[in-house]
Structures are given as structure tokens and as C-alpha cells.
């Protein structure tokens, strides 16, 4: 008993010591895992760019209470195992006060046990609803989850676009498969008929067979739940070439700069849901301007959510300090923060955003139509 007490005291002393150490160093270190290599290295780059933009701005304004933010990035290669290693590598660094996790739901899944164990506030972008519903108090989602996306898509398609027979095309990965399930339910609930639902494997390059089936199913609308913007663009180009006449509404991947850049005119006149819209609100407009100025390319959701995460984090730290428990409490208390992605109000699960934009893509520009919250 006495030993335990002594041990506890030692721990406290150690923690205090650590606190003193970074006070002296004058920086606050924040970790981030991202796809630096591997098939989705592009999204990884956007993510790093978004985070760096936020960091540079905060530091330019004098940092947080005089301390500069230092961003430390580890590569997750887009793989679960490498994601876990990267997360642990960051967590092992005693100076890191919070970690920005992955936008991929499976990588988040794989790292969740370690988040729970290390008790480091972790900000994620994966939209699989259950990620924040497993009782892990250290996970905060900086994007709206898929229940909102599917509901928004279904509602808009049926009520506004007048869709009656809908074909669904989805990626068989975690994001797409979960989205497909939710979307089908939502469509039926709104009174539409699902005439075909087809899954494809990530990075499929020839969509002829899928599109032929959409055609023969007699669908008036194609709803896509595709994970990668590259795939979405590829599919859209082929759809146009096959001369398929259907209305199209897609998940977030359709309204990304990557999709628009790759698909060109093929993406015009499609609808999509998006949590990030370049001129959706004032914060987004300002962000887009600065992002374009700095990187000479259009920002998208990959950069948007980490920009918000970084800013929310810096406010919380400025207010509550760098102790993990304080940050955790602080984020949970955030209410009505106007970020690039929308207005953040964290619920008890750790979900910050609760709605999606419906957007239309016209002349390769994303035009916000309405926000469904």
C-alpha cells in the first residue's frame, strides 16, 4: 500500500517534471499521422498542407501563450498496421499533447485500443458512425458522420431531385460498405426504390460492367458511395462516354478538388454531399483564399478538417493548458465554434459536426445548395 502510494507520488513528480520540460522548450508538439506514401499519398499531402497552414498562422500570431506549435508527422502508408506503429511512435514522444488521427475508418479502428490506453486526445476524420460510439472518451471527430451523409443524400435525391429508382454504387471498403447500408435504408425511408446496388474494389479502373448494369436496371438516379476521389472521377468519365443518362448524387468524394481536376467536365451537373465547401461560410472562404495563395491548389476536405482540428486544439490549449485530461475536457466543451467545415458543437460521443452540405458541381465549381443539419 505504501509502495503504491510512493509509486503514485513518483508518477506525479515525473509528470510535473515533464510539464516543466516543455515549458522550458517553448514549443507545444502536436502529432499527426498521414498517408505520406502509398496509394492515397495525395490525400496525405492535402492533409499535411491543411495542418501546416493552421500551424503557420497560429505561430505567426505568436503561438499559444507565447509557445510555438510544432507539428510532427508520421507516415501510416494507408495501412492499419503502419497506422498503429505511427500512432504509437507519436504517443511515445512525451512532449506530444494531442494527435490528429486518420481520415480512414479502418485505421482509426486499428488505433482505437491505443488511444484508449494512452489517453491522448485524438482527432479523427473517419466517418464510420460507430468509431465514436464505442465509449472511447479520447476520440473526437472533426467531420460529420455517415448517418448524416446518407440521410442528406437520400432526402435531397427523393425530395428535390425527384429520384424514384435509384442505383447505388459503393466501394467495398469500410467507408463504402457502411455507407451503402445506411444509404439504402435512408432511400427506402424517403420512398425511393433501390433498383441495383453494386460494390467495387478500391482502385477499380474499368467501370463499364457496373455502368451497364446501372443502365439495364432502369435507374433514373445513380447514388455513389465511393471512397477515393480518383475512383469517382474515373467512373464519371466512363459514365459520360457510355452516354448514360442518369442523375447523379455522390458522397463526399465527388466534391473534392481531386475529383474535379481528374474528371474535368464529366463531373459537371452532379450533386454531392460535402462537409467542406470552399465558399460555404466565412471561415471556409478565408481558408480557401490563404490555402490557394500558399499552395496554388484548391483545398478540399482532407485539408479542411485538420485545419479546423488544429485551430480548435490551439484554442482549447490556450484556455485549459496542455494536460491531456484538460484538453479532452476542453474539446468536449467546445460549442458553436465556426470552423471551415461548419459549426462545431461536440456531443457526448465526441462528434463535432452534425450536418452536411448538399452541393452541385457546375463548370467544375462546387456550388453550395443547402446545409442539412
Amino acid at each position: 500500500m505504501i509502495g503504491k502510494l510512493l509509486g503514485g507520488a513518483g508518477m506525479i513528480a515525473l509528470l510535473c517534471g515533464a510539464g516543466v520540460a516543455h515549458a522550458a522548450s517553448g514549443t507545444i508538439e502536436i502529432g499527426m499521422i498521414a498517408d505520406l506514401t502509398g496509394p492515397a499519398a495525395l490525400s496525405g499531402q492535402h492533409k499535411v498542407d491543411g495542418a501546416k497552414l493552421a500551424v503557420d498562422e497560429i505561430n505567426a500570431h505568436g503561438g499559444i501563450a507565447g509557445k510555438k506549435i510544432k507539428l510532427i508527422v508520421e507516415d501510416d502508408r494507408g495501412q492499419n498496421q503502419a497506422g498503429v506503429s505511427a500512432y504509437q511512435k507519436l504517443a511515445a514522444n512525451q512532449n506530444i499533447v494531442a494527435i490528429i488521427g486518420s481520415i480512414r475508418s479502418t485505421i482509426v479502428q486499428a488505433t482505437l485500443p491505443y488511444v484508449a490506453r494512452y489517453k491522448i486526445p485524438t482527432m479523427i476524420g473517419g466517418t464510420d458512425p460507430k468509431l465514436t460510439h464505442v465509449g472511447n472518451q479520447w476520440v473526437f471527430r472533426f467531420r460529420p458522420n455517415d448517418t448524416y451523409a446518407s440521410a442528406t443524400m437520400a432526402q435531397y435525391a427523393v425530395k428535390t431531385m425527384g429520384s424514384k429508382n435509384v442505383a447505388v454504387l459503393y466501394d467495398t471498403d469500410a467507408f463504402g460498405a457502411a455507407g451503402n447500408a445506411l444509404l439504402k435504408v435512408a432511400l427506402v425511408k424517403n420512398g425511393a426504390k433501390v433498383v441495383s446496388d453494386q460494390g467495387y474494389t478500391t482502385a477499380t479502373r474499368d467501370y463499364t460492367s457496373f455502368l451497364e448494369k446501372v443502365k439495364s436496371s432502369g435507374a433514373d438516379t445513380l447514388a455513389t458511395y465511393m471512397t477515393n476521389s480518383e475512383d469517382e472521377a474515373q467512373m464519371l468519365k466512363q459514365l459520360r462516354q457510355l452516354g448514360l443518362k442518369v442523375k447523379i448524387i455522390g458522397s463526399t468524394s465527388i466534391a473534392t478538388s481531386v475529383c474535379i481536376q481528374l474528371a474535368g467536365p464529366a463531373v459537371d451537373d452532379t450533386y454531392g454531399v460535402s462537409d467542406f465547401v470552399a465558399d460555404g461560410n466565412d471561415a471556409a472562404k478565408a481558408f480557401t483564399k490563404r490555402y490557394v495563395a500558399k499552395y496554388n491548389s484548391q483545398p478540399d476536405v482532407f485539408g479542411g478538417w485538420v485545419y479546423d482540428a488544429m485551430n480548435v486544439l490551439s484554442r482549447v490549449i490556450a484556455k485549459d493548458g496542455t494536460a491531456p485530461a484538460a484538453i479532452q475536457k476542453g474539446i468536449r466543451a467546445v460549442k458553436g465554434y465556426h470552423g471551415v467545415e461548419g459549426t462545431y458543437t461536440f456531443d457526448t460521443n465526441g462528434d463535432g459536426l452534425h450536418g452536411y452540405w448538399v452541393v452541385k458541381i457546375k463548370h467544375r465549381k462546387v456550388i453550395p445548395i443547402k446545409y442539412v443539419g
Binding site: 506514401t37 502509398g38 496509394p39 499519398a41 495525395l42 496525405g44 499531402q45 467495398t172 453494386q198 460494390g199 467495387y200 474494389t201 482502385a203 477499380t204 479502373r205 474499368d206 463499364t208 460492367s209 457496373f210 451497364e212 448494369k213 443502365k215 439495364s216 480518383e230 472521377a233 474515373q234 466512363q238 462516354q241 457510355l242 452516354g243 481531386v258 481536376q261 481528374l262 474535368g264
Partner: protein
Amino acid sequence: MFSEFIQLTIAGLAVGSIYALIALGFVLIYTSVNVVNFAQGDFAMIGAYFMVSLVVVLHLPWWLALVLAVVATGLVGALFQLLIFQPVRNRPRNFLPVMIATVGASVFLEQAFLLIYGPIPYQLPPIFKADSVAVFGVHVYPQYIVIIVVTAAMVALLNWFLERTKLGKQLQATAQDPDTARLMGIRVAWMAALTFAISTALGGLAGLLIAPVYTVTATMGSSIALKAFAAAIVGGFGSMKGAIVGGLGIGLIETYGATYISGSYRDAFPFIVLILFLIFRPYGLFGEKVSQKV
């Protein structure tokens, strides 16, 4: 219904042509030096990137760019041979280390090109600018026709080279009996380099042909390569005719299967066919049964 079938057939043949070109590369290398080059698909990626540099960056006319890109890919292939195969060419049972080394090299090449060209996918304009042409309700994508025609021409050219020229015959002689070929004065090291150059050039051609349809990324080659590999086996590893028939067959099966059976298992069909072949006809369509000599 019928137009759908035609549509699928054209798409299947086009994708199949790409598999066939890469499968030919596998077969050429396998028959001549008895190793499998798992980096074969990455040469498709290299060819596509070279094409991007020549067309998008340097604005060369497409036909000149095509020739230059194919030749350049072949040169990279010859260099690859020098580094991966030459050092261990005389080691017994070198199949295994070479095979794993080519996988390691594939990891390296994909990363190297990712670093050089960056993660943003490139788009290559189609060779014919025309959009799809509708014939009797069938929308034909011109690039698909280009792929099929160029592949056919390339196969004819390759066949002419191997069957009608002395160099081609020397290449075959080396593959059939390297020691005796050396006794004839055939420089077998050159033949190995030439074989790699031709094989990888075919891969590069496949890559730049499909590039306008796909996007050009560092990882574009790996998934194509595995299916091309299946095509080579189904055809009978070691048979050029087999590689072509296997490639087209796999392309068609994949496309029909995804439509008429299940889209999610699209990538599985080539390998299910492969397993069936290996169980019931292990030496493929055109492979000869070889028995070990005592």
C-alpha cells in the same frame, strides 16, 4: 441487351489487350531466363509517366512521344536486368531470390516515381480527341479501339521479329539452350538484356495505352500486373500465343463476370479461373507438359 454485350466485349478486349501485353512480357522473360519479374507492372507505370513527361510537359506529338516512351522504358528494363538479374545469373536456384528481389524493386520503383512525380495523378489526353462514337446504340470509346489495334500491331511486329529475323531466332535459341547458344557465339548476356528491354517496353506500351483511360499514378501497375500474371498462367506460362489468348480471356471474363455475376468479386474472377486451370489443366491452354529429365 445485345448492345450491352457488345459494349462489355469491347471493354473486356481493351483491358484484356493490356493484360496480354504485360503477360507477353512475363512470358518472354520467363522463357529466356527462367525467372518471373514481378516488377513487370511497374514498367507500365514507368511508360505512362514517360508519356506524361513527353506529351504533357514537353508537348511532343503523340506518335513521337509514344516511340520515345516505349524505347526509354525498354532501356530502364535493360538497366533493371543488369542490376537484378545479372549478378545472380549463374547461381543455381536463382528463381527465388530474383523473384523476391523484383518485388523489392517494385516497391522501390513505385516509391521513386511517387517522389519524382508527386502524388497528384496525371491525366494523359487520349490519342484521338474524339469523344465516344455511338454506333447502333453502342458507345465505343475511341481509346479502347486504339488499344486493341495497337496491341494487335505490336503482337504482329513482335512475331515478325522473333520469327523472321536472325536476332529474333538468336533470342529463341538462347531461351531454348543457353550454353549451346554461347557455343554458337551468341552473346547471351546481351540476349538477356534485350529480352528484358523488349518485355519492359511492352509493359511500358501497355501503360501508356491505358493511361488516357486510367489516371497515371505510381501504383497503377501493380493490380494490372497480377491479372496479367494470371493471364500468362492460364495461357500456359511460356507460350506467347497463350499470353495473348489468356490476356484477352481474362479481360473478358473479368468484365462479363462483374456484370453478370458480382461486381464485388470482379478482381476474383481472373484468379478463380486461374485456380480452376491449375487444378484441371495445370499447364494452361497452350503450355507443354515438361517432365524433368533424369
